[in-house]
């Protein structure tokens, strides 16, 4: 039989029993739909995280007070705080690959002013910080070298802080109290959004590091030193260079381990991505199981169909159908059913992903690869689960089949 005729015959016989066909396809529809939705959610989360990692800054390297270990016992990152401003200066002075460096002095700032008061992390940084984080101001300006040298009492607010204290006005030029010290707001930063782990990056106050260190009361420490290279290709080399400079600056002997950690953005990203990759795989696996169940549904119905149509098979054989013709006919039927179910499932998946995206606010991404894989997979399910019943049909004895009541 020609392939056109085969498909026409298959479609006709599928349409003869619409309700049953629909129920059979339902398994595949749900399976494929679930795969599409689940993978869309997983990929959406992944691309969200990628975006957030990009959002951290440009070609960024982070030096944090590192884990020291004694006698094989690790004290964990930050157990010894040994970052100093000298370290930052040493990097700035000696590094050939790093084009921008900023210490990040961390303290908590209690702000009073505007409509009330607000507690937010306060970071003392230098002018490079804005470049490293790639973080423009929404209004006003970031502080400059002169502000830093003069230890001026100026602050730049993150968007959340500005919204909390000055919901209706542009606070640039206004004064607030930061830890009981009156400071002037010179700028508000653009919105940066959440970090991969859900922290609001805009809930922050920036001040010149000199000001934080010398003019604000209270404890402060250098939480990290940020640096960036001008080209992403330089990052691995810069990472090693920073480590050498840091060891030198900390006067570590050869046998001593690093008491700091230098990480780059990719490493930060990898940790987050591996989590979502596992999640995507898990979701796809669960959805895949439902596709498998759908396939078993097809096999079940095809077996019933072969029994029910034994006489038809006998007639076809009597008038000259070979075993292969019968096999192909039933196989094409199950493939047509599973592909049709797959196509509908893709539509359901698209709809489901967009509905879930709308109601939960999760990002969903449907890639063309997902669609193709889903279609190929459902066709494969049709072949795999249709083959056994089709073979059973093809192996029937024409005389027995004709006699079947």
């Amino acid at each position: 039989m020609r392939s056109g005729t085969l498909i026409r015959v298959a479609v006709k016989s599928i349409l003869k029993n619409k309700m049953r066909t629909l129920l059979t396809m339902l398994g595949i529809i749900i399976g494929v739909g679930a795969v599409i939705v689940m993978v869309a959610i997983g990929l959406g989360a992944q691309s969200q995280i990628e975006k957030q990692i990009q959002n951290l800054g440009t070609n960024m390297l982070v030096v944090t007070p590192g884990s020291s270990s004694s006698g094989g016992v690790s004290h964990g990152a930050g157990s010894l705080n040994r970052l100093t401003l000298d370290d930052a200066e040493a990097i700035e002075r000696e590094s050939l690959l790093v084009s921008a460096v900023s210490p990040v002095i961390m303290t908590f700032g209690h702000l009073v002013g505007g409509t009330g008061n607000w507690r937010a992390p306060c970071y003392g940084v230098n002018t490079d910080y804005q470049y490293i984080r790639d973080w423009p101001v929404a209004s006003g300006r970031f502080f400059d070298e002169a502000d830093i040298r003069a230890m001026r009492k100026v602050v730049v607010l993150g968007k959340t802080v500005a919204d909390q204290l000055f919901p209706d006005t542009d606070p640039v030029g206004l004064r607030v109290q930061l830890r009981h010290v009156p400071v002037q707001i010179i700028g508000v930063l653009a919105e940066k959004g959440q970090t991969a782990d859900g922290n609001d990056q805009d809930d922050v106050v920036f001040a010149p590091y000199t000001t934080v260190k010398n003019r604000l009361s209270g404890r402060s420490f250098i939480a990290q030193i940020l640096a960036s290279t001008s080209s992403p290709d330089d990052i691995p080399a810069a990472q090693e260079e920073l480590a050498l400079i840091m060891r030198d600056s900390h006067e570590l002997a050869a046998w001593e381990e690093d008491d700091f950690t230098v990480r780059n953005q990719t490493e930060l990203a990898e940790a987050a991505e591996s989590t979502t990759e596992v999640m995507t795989l898990l979701l796809a696996a669960i959805a895949g199981i439902s596709l498998l169940v759908g396939g078993i549904g097809i096999m079940n119905i095809m077996l019933v169909s072969v029994t029910e149509r034994t006489r038809e098979i006998g007639i076809r054989m009597a008038i000259g159908a070979r075993g292969r013709d019968v096999l192909t006919q039933f196989l094409v039927e199950s493939i047509v059913m599973s592909i049709l179910g797959g196509a509908i499932g893709i539509g359901v998946g698209f709809a489901g992903a967009s509905i879930i995206g709308r109601f939960t606010g999760w990002a969903t991404t449907i890639s063309p690869e997902t669609v193709i894989v889903a279609l190929v997979f459902s066709a494969a399910v049709g072949i795999f689960f249709g083959y056994y019943p089709a073979r059973k049909a093809a192996a029937l004895d024409p005389i027995e089949a004709l006699r079947y009541e």
Partner: protein
């Protein structure tokens, strides 16, 4: 061997194994059929006529013996080869019509042509329509079997048997499910087809059906017990059809 010989069998046997016993459904059948003959094969149930029919129709293979169809040895052929022989050389008509349900008359008749593997270009629609015209159902082509009377269904089945222009038509109790009026119509149709040169073998146990043929073969216990002309008019000359 005469060139006009369509069927020639020699010592055909067919044994079935039922547990430990062997049932000899056919115990050596020898006969020949010449092109253009119209033959009735008669016998009580259990006489082996259905088994013989299945073997002549290439649905089954003999346990031993030779069967030549148009000079070609058919016994011992593979399943696929037998399917091709059935497709090209044999038209089946069954007692229970055996049409595909929910499928139009035209599509039912077209079916054998869809399995044609000879490679020739066929306008299957047109040929099927012509076959239906030949059996007088030109106006029922789009009807499904459930919308047709028994006689009409059997006509569709006959059209299906005709459509690939086989040298023989095998009819297994073709009037067994029809009333006497319709039986006559269907028998007339077979006579017409036979007059047009088609070899017809009818399996029947009804005397009046056998009466329209020109030769009756009687079976009992898997053997031919009689093979005689009925003395009907219009005897055919071997190999030449007259109408």
């Amino acid at each position: 061997m005469d060139n006009g010989t369509v069927i020639r069998t020699e010592g055909i046997t067919r044994h079935y194994r039922l547990g430990t016993t062997t049932v000899k459904a056919l115990a050596g059948i020898d006969f020949s059929v010449v092109k253009g003959e119209m033959i009735a094969i008669m016998g009580a149930s259990g006489s082996g006529k259905s088994t013989l029919m299945n073997i002549l129709g290439c649905l089954d293979s003999p346990t031993s013996g030779t069967y030549e169809l148009e000079g070609i040895r058919v016994d011992g052929m593979s399943r696929d080869q037998l399917a091709d022989i059935r497709n090209r050389k044999i038209g089946f008509v069954f007692q229970v019509f055996n049409l595909l349900a929910r499928t139009s008359a035209l599509e039912n008749v077209e079916l054998p042509l869809l399995y044609d593997r000879s490679g020739r270009k066929l306008d299957s629609r047109k040929l099927a329509a012509e076959a239906l015209e030949r059996v007088g159902l030109a106006d029922r082509m789009d009807h499904e079997p459930s919308e047709l009377s028994g006689g009409q269904q059997q006509r569709v089945a006959i059209a299906r048997a005709l459509v690939s222009q086989p040298p023989i038509i095998l009819a297994d109790e073709p009037t067994g499910n029809l009333d006497s009026g319709t039986t006559l119509e269907i028998l007339d149709l077979f006579k017409d087809l036979n007059n047009q040169g088609i070899t017809v073998l009818l399996v029947t146990h009804e005397q009046e059906v056998a009466a329209v043929t020109r030769r009756v073969i009687k079976l009992r216990d898997g053997r031919i017990v009689s093979d005689s002309p009925t003395g009907n008019s219009q005897p055919l000359v071997a190999g030449r059809a007259c109408s």
